[in-house]
Symmetry: D2
Subunit: 306 residues, 4 copies
């Protein structure tokens, strides 16, 4: 029923919570939780195992690892390095793949001119790009024992390019033929508490909109032919979501037969196409972007060292 | 009563509407409206005349001219030039002042790294700054018959500088002694419909917070000793405001004794410090910033020509 | 002999002048000049007609139109619009092509983080990108009688992406299949007087390095399979070039047998990889970038209107 | 004699070398050198002791510490931290001052839109600004035992503001009354080998132009009334300097009576107002800017800890 409201979240964790709050078991979905006490990071692994599970959750089959990191907004450099290393190990787990020798393309999705959407471009800025160096000077030029060829691009958004992002990425993948794509993106959460405190790593790629059924604009193994690891951080909540959620809490305390219809009518159409984000989003994007780039740099170097 | 909710808007127009909706007359406040049919611009002049009016409106005594421009978001260059010329004429009206020969400092308030807050810095970028040229080569160097000395600064926000903005501006004003300050800023509206469609010109300066009583952080004649014209465009709505407003519409359709208390309790504390803004805010800031800079350029040149 | 010094310029006009100064006729190269007195623009059309001409000039066969515009650095908006319209007409001339219905990809080459190299990305910022709108709403959605589908990308430089630019462009062209590519780039001139005062339009595409023989990194009809119009503005002079040129003027006034060898030895190896550019390059890039974008916008709309 | 050519360098080290190459002793100037073998940093301390020395050197009386760091361009994070710590210790030495309790204003000079001039604004971006936090929550709020109140501003250049930078800084200093100003700026060197490899720390403040006699545009104890520590990194060489220097090497191998006049005549007037800088200047500014910010952060925290 709530589902009919089509509340949108990019976090599998929040889809799952939606059903928990209704005391509903979701068939075809498994959940495991783990708490890293030392670093105060809660890890949740949601696995969507069947088409039925995918339909219920509104997300494609695959594995979604969520790191909830209460202190991710704090400016503690050492702590961010630990988070980066931990992130690298989860990427390592989720990427089932011969990692002894591979090439990767990192795609920084989003609009660098809209602060909460600039996470992807920010990550690309701090990434160690090596493909051109390895091609020119060989594997040992990087000062490591071995080096993967890493390339990267921040293609911009459709309003800037006139192209769907997957069209751009598809073309590049066909030409340079990497073994894996990492797609980094800013996400929409449902709960403001999660903003800038959560990293989701998924082996499903990027599925704009519902993500089920319609492959048209996906950046995924289906469209690119190679594995796509999606790394996302919720930086906004849809404005309509925030209003609807608060109102549902209100109506649950009141009595009315047609309360859900009333809510839907009250939400201003102007709210669609608007988002909610914190005032200090510039600092969060800068700090978390550097952390995710570091996590990728660690992952690429660790595997190169084997 | 609604006032106890402390709904915040930077637009005097919206304060006034608040009372209209309650069918309350506000003593000490006069309102005049005018509709420019040709350009589809609605002009409202709110004058707060007495301390009592100031207290009721939550804004200092002074004149507030609001231009509501439905098409301000459209990319029509000619139309934006007309808006700029019209804006220049309202600045001319509101600035009671010998305009035959004056020097001005334009202050671009806000954070250039947070898109909806970057309006002020964007305006400074496109402004014709002339003070250094006039001082070096004389009044006639600008190719106009006469030239005012215009200087400009985008000082950044407190999180970046460690200083209140008025401390920075006060220091500069004491040193270079302009005759008038123009302070350009992104505003918070109450209604998302007004975002990026409204320009407010006020002779009251900038009053962070309530704007009444506490002069500490003002950028105004009281703190600087010279007239301060504030030019603002609402680019965000406070997230808590949007939720509260929608819920009030809801409760007015339902029945409950303690409904306002319930609403207040339901608003997540995480919402404070968050704002709502449209997804294409980068394009709006760029376009409106250019228009306001053009309006100031026209105003400074017109008066120089007399 | 001077040629043995391998003085580099991206302007065909300057290659030609090199030989004129030696009183050498270049076979396989034709030159026509025209002076637009009203707008003070000197137009030179250099046609390289034969492989021999290409070898002598160090540039591929094709047509190179150079607009020398003394006032291009001035902030006169009306004048820049005239330059844009004139530029559109030269693009129209050089593009031999059925222009009644075509799709185009505009590529903004260069590094947005190095000011004199940011011309291409700056042009993409101000371009009217229409492909996504035409695809969604049809040809008549743009408010013009007809609309070409225009897409654009600023892919960044190899140090940022790890990829050759042509690899990125090749992939995108294969996927979205435009009829023509426009490649906008900052160029290196030989003479500082030309910086930010010259627009070169060529039907040869982009040929990093010598441009003859080695097709590897070209962005051209040979590598992409469709016409590539290159639009460039010289914004830098190679540092070694500037030293060498001045010294050659010096040695021509002195006497020495081995003077050219001496010159070559004296040029510090540190100079290679350095460029010379004016201090106000930020303003020039902004202004000229807007002008070139306007020229392309005019060209795309004019042809759409037919 | 060479002095008559008015070769400009912002590095006292290079002024000194000028005389060494002529085997001239400079009275009123003392020089000490030290080589840090472990970190491969050469330290030179030039002290200008008398007015006579100041006149000869073309720089005001004071102490100039130069760190020559061959590996400053390398992306080795640990090494940059060591450089930052070492820089903090030299600042500590040069600032003769009761450091137990002080407030500081850091000024990032230069133009953020011209890459090699963006060092100052870049440093301000990464600085720990604390004044507003200490004022609000007290000294112990920063999680250190003690905290100085640090504020910062990147005021922009005269073409953007219409104001001399010292006018802006003077005003701010009068209002917030710090105990010391740190002025960070990009410098012009004479030798391209020094670019992005050298940090100069001086207790003389900033003296645009010759720096002797004319106090008008200084940012110094004379104009502000408090100590001004200047921290600079050469990121450009004046284009005319590079040509003149190379030519002087040439003429010293040739014979001519009026060779210096010939050189002067040959230098294109277009070269004035131009600078030489490396192609990868964006990466250097980013890396060195972070290192200098870190050095200042360390200095402010160390002293706070005492």
């Amino acid at each position: 029923m709530l589902g009919s409201y089509n509340i949108h979240t990019d976090l599998a964790l929040e889809d799952k919570e939606r059903f928990e709050s209704d005391n509903v078991e979701v068939s075809g979905v498994s959940v495991e939780e783990f708490y890293d006490e030392e670093r105060e990071i809660r890890i949740t692994e949601v696995k969507i195992l069947t088409e039925n599970g995918a339909k219920t959750m509104g997300k494609p089959i695959g594995t979604y690892i969520t790191m909830e990191i209460a202190n991710l907004v704090l400016p503690d450099e050492e702590y961010h390095k630990e988070v980066a290393r931990e992130m690298a190990s989860y990427i390592n787990n989720i990427l089932e793949f011969d990692k002894s020798d591979f090439t990767a393309l990192v795609v920084g999705l989003g609009n660098r001119d809209v602060t909460p959407d600039a996470l992807g471009p920010r990550v690309v800025e701090s990434l160690n790009v090596t493909r051109h160096i390895v091609r020119e000077y060989g594997k040992y030029a990087m000062g490591e024992e071995e080096s993967h060829m890493i390339s990267a691009i921040a293609p911009g958004v459709m309003a800037q390019t006139g192209m769907e992002t997957w069209e751009i990425i598809k073309g590049i993948v066909d030409t340079i033929q990497p073994d894996v794509v990492f797609a980094v993106d800013a996400l929409a959460a449902r709960n403001t508490k999660r903003l800038n405190r959560t990293i989701q790593i998924a082996d499903t790629g990027i599925h704009p909109g519902s993500g089920v059924g319609n492959h048209r604009n996906e950046i995924s193994k289906e469209t690119l032919g190679i594995p796509v690891i999606a790394i996302g951080v919720p930086t906004v909540v849809d404005a309509a979501t925030i209003v609807r959620d608060t109102m549902e809490n209100l109506v649950s305390t009141l009595e009315s037969d047609d309360k859900y219809e009333i809510i839907q009518d009250l939400i201003s159409p102007h709210l669609y196409g608007m988002f909610v984000t914190p005032k200090d989003i510039d600092e969060s994007i800068d700090r978390i972007g550097a952390t995710i780039a570091e996590g990728l740099n660690v992952f690429f170097t660790q595997n190169a060292k084997v």
